[in-house]
């Protein structure tokens, strides 16, 4: 375990070093995040006039959802895209072999190899938005609700990671479909708005098949005191389920790789 921890520190140390090679990118990223967030808020404001709600959610409550979405989007920029996007490159260029020959778990290596600090401001802004929205919505913070939200964020992150990893792992078979994760990203954009803003059929889809609801809407409900223990358990259960599926799928993909590749 100590070896994994030390490896992780080295991974991220080198990642930050790479970023420092390209300082201008950080500024560009910052500008892009600021523009993107103002655009999202502008778009959200279009749904709100006097006395208007979006699926029964007030402006402040919707801001909480938007904040949570921004956190996960930042997480994708910081962690998922740079790592899982590299899997297809490894497969295409044959450097996956090097990863498989390291005495360390290959999924660990592929999932945590690098980190892009450029997405961190987005996470910060998202958390800020969440805090502000919560305050406006009259949320009373208790230690237990804070802890619950933290657990929900972790569960959401795990769900997001597992979905992304599952799709990225298919590149072992279909090198040419590397942009399948773009489809996932497009669908995840539905997490910008509260689940109730969607028609019932889509709500079902976003809860069970592509559990976007557990990333943004459910944590916001937890903070608002509207969702209780069963929801929390369902979120955790889904996270464990998705992670187990991603793990099993990776082992299966590796078996295919080692028996069919040349």
């Amino acid at each position: 375990m100590g070896r994994y921890w030390r490896t992780l520190r080295r991974f991220w140390g080198t990642a930050v070093a790479v970023q420092l090679e390209y300082q201008a990118n950080v500024l560009i990223e910052l500008l892009a995040v600021a523009m993107s967030l103002s655009g999202s808020l502008f778009l959200l404001s279009l749904f709100y006039g006097p006395d208007q709600t979006l699926g029964g959610w007030s402006w402040a409550q919707a801001l909480m959802v938007q904040g949570l979405y921004t956190v996960f989007d930042g997480m994708a920029t910081t962690w998922l895209r740079p790592n899982l996007g590299a899997i297809v490159t490894h497969v295409r260029e044959g450097t996956l072999d090097f990863v498989l020959l390291k005495p360390i778990d290959s999924q660990f290596w592929l999932s945590l190899r690098t980190l892009s600090p450029a997405g961190l401001p987005e996470i910060g802004l998202g958390l800020g938005l969440l805090a502000w929205g919560s305050h406006q919505a009259g949320v009373v913070l208790t230690l237990s609700s804070l802890l619950t939200v933290l657990v929900m964020l972790l569960a959401g992150g795990l769900i997001l990671y597992s979905l992304w990893f599952l799709i990225a792992a298919t590149s072992i078979w279909f090198v040419k479909t590397w942009n399948a994760t773009e489809v996932l990203r497009a669908l995840l954009a539905s997490g910008r708005y509260p689940l109730n803003a969607y028609p019932p059929a889509l709500r079902l889809l976003f809860t069970l098949v592509l559990p976007v609801a557990f990333l943004t809407t459910v944590p916001a409900q937890v903070l608002l005191g509207e969702a209780a223990a069963p929801m929390l358990l369902a979120g955790l259960g889904l996270a464990v389920l998705f992670f187990a599926a991603a793990r099993a799928f990776w082992l299966f993909a590796l078996r295919f790789y080692t028996s069919a590749s040349s």
Binding site: G13, T14, V18, E93, G94, T95, D97, L101, P103, I104
Partner: protein, 324 residues
């Protein structure tokens, strides 16, 4: 150190017509075909041996090498490397081997090799002090200095390959699998890499299995060679035996000050070409030194070049002649 018994690898390849219609037809009715990449190969390699692994492109060299590392599962047969079955890829096994691929790199492109080395040290669980000592030693042998702190993208191909070797050897593996480690390097860099591998083998007693397109790599390093053709092992033994069989003659190219007659070259090997001042001779290997000395003695030589035909050509020639 390496035991291979009846090793075979059969791929199932999908047969698909090109184009959209072909894709659809393939989807409805899959047609597959079995391709044998490696067939019934057996050999043993003792600790400390340096063995050359020869074969034309597609002969099954890389497939065999990957089976020895555990990257590909054999269809049949037994493989033992350093007392392990490679396909299980246990951590203890992986710590004892390494794979270097000439055309692929593990070093991070944007960072100095040093950063990648630190990552490897952590992954292999090597304490920092020990890692630093080994880096210094290996860098010394490889004649690498400040290159280790320059981004990889700014290194020449030769420097990059040497850094790759360093990264691959940091954990002091006992078994080295090298797939075309000198590919694309200039002659000087090739020689440097070769020299390093010989030194490393002497110092650590590591077992080395090496493939190369350059005959010079094999002649310089490997007293024993394995020759694989169409998936089968055709030769396992000293290089000289194979070399004589493969290339009993070497080519001598001469550029003279003034034209000569063909008669004047009688007894100096087989005359291949004579055009004014340009001469090409095929000289039996064992007479080479004597012939070259005589040539220099008797003629006004402006330029003299002795070449080994490329290994592909030799092996191709061998099989065309039906000698194996």
């Amino acid at each position: 150190m390496i035991q291979v018994e009846g090793l075979s690898k059969i791929y199932r390849v999908a047969e698909k017509q090109p184009g959209l219609a072909g894709t659809l037809r393939h989807f409805v009715r899959r047609r597959t075909r079995d391709v044998t990449a490696v067939q019934d190969v057996s050999f043993r390699i003792e600790p400390g041996e340096m063995v050359g692994f020869l074969g034309a492109n597609g002969a099954g060299k890389t497939t065999t090498l990957k089976m020895l590392c555990g990257l590909i599962h054999p269809s049949a047969g037994e493989v033992h490397v350093a007392g392990h079955r490679p396909q299980r890829r246990q951590a203890e096994f992986l710590r004892r081997i390494t794979l270097v691929m000439g055309q692929k790199q593990q070093l991070l492109w944007d960072l100095p090799p040093m950063d990648s080395l630190r990552v490897n040290a952590a992954v292999y669980g090597i304490p920092d002090g020990v890692a630093q000592r080994r880096i210094n030693e290996l860098a010394d042998l490889l004649e690498l200095g400040e290159e280790l702190t320059r981004p990889v993208r700014k290194l020449s191909l030769g420097q990059r390959m040497k850094a790759e070797l360093l990264a691959a050897l940091l954990h002091e593996p006992e078994v080295l699998f090298l797939d075309e480690p000198t590919l694309g390097l200039d002659v000087n860099a090739q020689a440097r890499v070769r020299q390093f591998l010989a030194q490393y083998n002497r110092r650590t007693g590591a077992t080395v299995l090496l493939t190369s397109h350059y005959m010079a790599d094999i002649t310089a390093l490997c007293p024993r060679v394995l020759l694989i053709h169409q998936g089968r092992l055709f030769h396992d033994g000293p290089l000289e035996v194979l070399a004589d069989q493969l290339a009993p003659e070497r080519e001598v190219r001469l550029e003279l000050e003034s034209p000569v007659e063909a008669d004047a070259l009688a007894g100096l090997g087989r005359l291949e070409q004579l055009e004014g001042c340009d001469v090409r001779l095929l000289v039996p290997r064992d007479q080479l030194t004597a012939v070259v000395a005589q040539l220099l003695d008797r003629f006004p030589v402006r330029d003299l070049d002795v070449t080994d035909p490329p290994i592909e050509e030799l092996i191709g020639g061998l099989f065309r002649q039906g000698r194996v």
